[in-house]
């Protein structure tokens, strides 16, 4: 069986080592991608992988990504919930990779809620 080599693992570790100093901040912002069947069929995976890319690019360790099951709102999937510290969570609907980038840059990094595609405050 071909497995990840020790070298691969070392590389992964080196890659991560730079983030260690910031880890006490972890989880200040929580972004939940709802991964129900409809969400997945409607593009939730791309939304989530875009989010991971954006976080890596911004080099932020204080943003926690979570997958959760569905919210029972098939018609507005994919849904993403953004919770910044003590603020009220915002649910975004009909997300796409591009909308995710916008929410990341504007809401998560700058604090501006993107009301155009926000579904509701919880």
């Amino acid at each position: 069986m071909a497995k990840l080599s020790i070298q691969d693992l070392k590389k992964i570790k080196e890659n991560a080592a730079k983030g260690i100093s910031l880890r006490q901040e972890q989880g200040r912002i929580k972004v939940t991608v709802h991964m129900g069947t409809c969400g997945i069929a409607a593009g939730a995976r791309e939304v989530m992988s875009t989010l991971v890319e954006e976080i890596a690019q911004a080099d932020r360790q204080d943003i926690q990504v979570v997958a959760s099951s569905c919210m029972g709102m098939c018609s507005s999937e994919p849904n993403v919930t953004v919770q910044v510290e003590a603020e009220e969570p915002i649910i975004y609907q009909k997300m796409t990779a591009n909308k995710m980038r916008q929410v990341f840059k504007r809401h998560i990094l700058l604090g501006e809620v993107q009301t155009d595609f926000a579904l509701a405050k919880m």
Partner: protein, 185 residues
């Protein structure tokens, strides 16, 4: 679903919703036998026997079956449409195993799609769950076991975004590798 990899992501999420802490995913591209086989196994609660008989019925009405039933019935329909097979075994308290087969060259078979991203998204969204992902193309194979990776990483979280991107690259490369090996032999 546009990709088989999305079905796999969905069925794996079912297992996680059933309280599993380990999910095994097997993709077996037996191209020489014109077969694509999938197996997704979890160690979650299993499906209670009263719900089990209707579990792949998209119209079953109880709320709890709907969450699980819809994805399963989509996969079943996709497999059967491609001269394939579908099977589900579940034992309450022990877990569930879902298997599906497709005729590899069937015109209606969705492409396998982006397995690297499906696996990456599973790991990224569920840091406490272990995933064992095995991918076989004829006689070559590749295994990724997150419990090993976590051991090596020690106290660095596997969900760190740079690790995630790296892992997704690794999977993509590993799949290209085993595909190439098969072509050269």
């Amino acid at each position: 679903m546009r990709e088989i990899a999305l079905h796999i992501l969905d069925i794996a999420e079912n297992g996680i919703a059933a309280g599993a802490d380990t999910i095994s995913i097997l993709v077996n591209e037996a191209r020489k036998d014109n077969l694509l086989k999938l197996e997704i196994k979890d160690n979650g609660r299993g499906i209670p026997s009263n719900i089990f008989k209707n579990v792949t019925d998209p119209f079953s009405t109880t709320r709890t079956t709907r969450r699980v039933g819809m994805g399963l019935s989509l996969l079943k329909a996709a497999a059967l449409r491609c001269d394939g097979s579908f099977d589900i075994e579940s034992e309450p308290g022990k877990g569930t195993k879902v298997s599906a087969g497709f005729r590899f060259d069937h015109i209606d078979r969705a492409p396998l799609g982006n397995m690297a991203d499906s696996v990456m998204v599973l790991i990224a969204g569920h840091p406490d769950i272990d995933f064992i992902y095995t991918h076989i193309i004829d006689e070559n194979d590749f295994v990724l076991d997150t419990s090993e990776i976590k051991k090596e990483l020690e106290d660095i979280p596997i969900t760190d975004s740079s690790i995630m991107l790296h892992l997704s690259e690794l999977i993509k490369n590993a799949l290209k590798d085993i595909e190439l090996k098969g072509k050269m032999s």
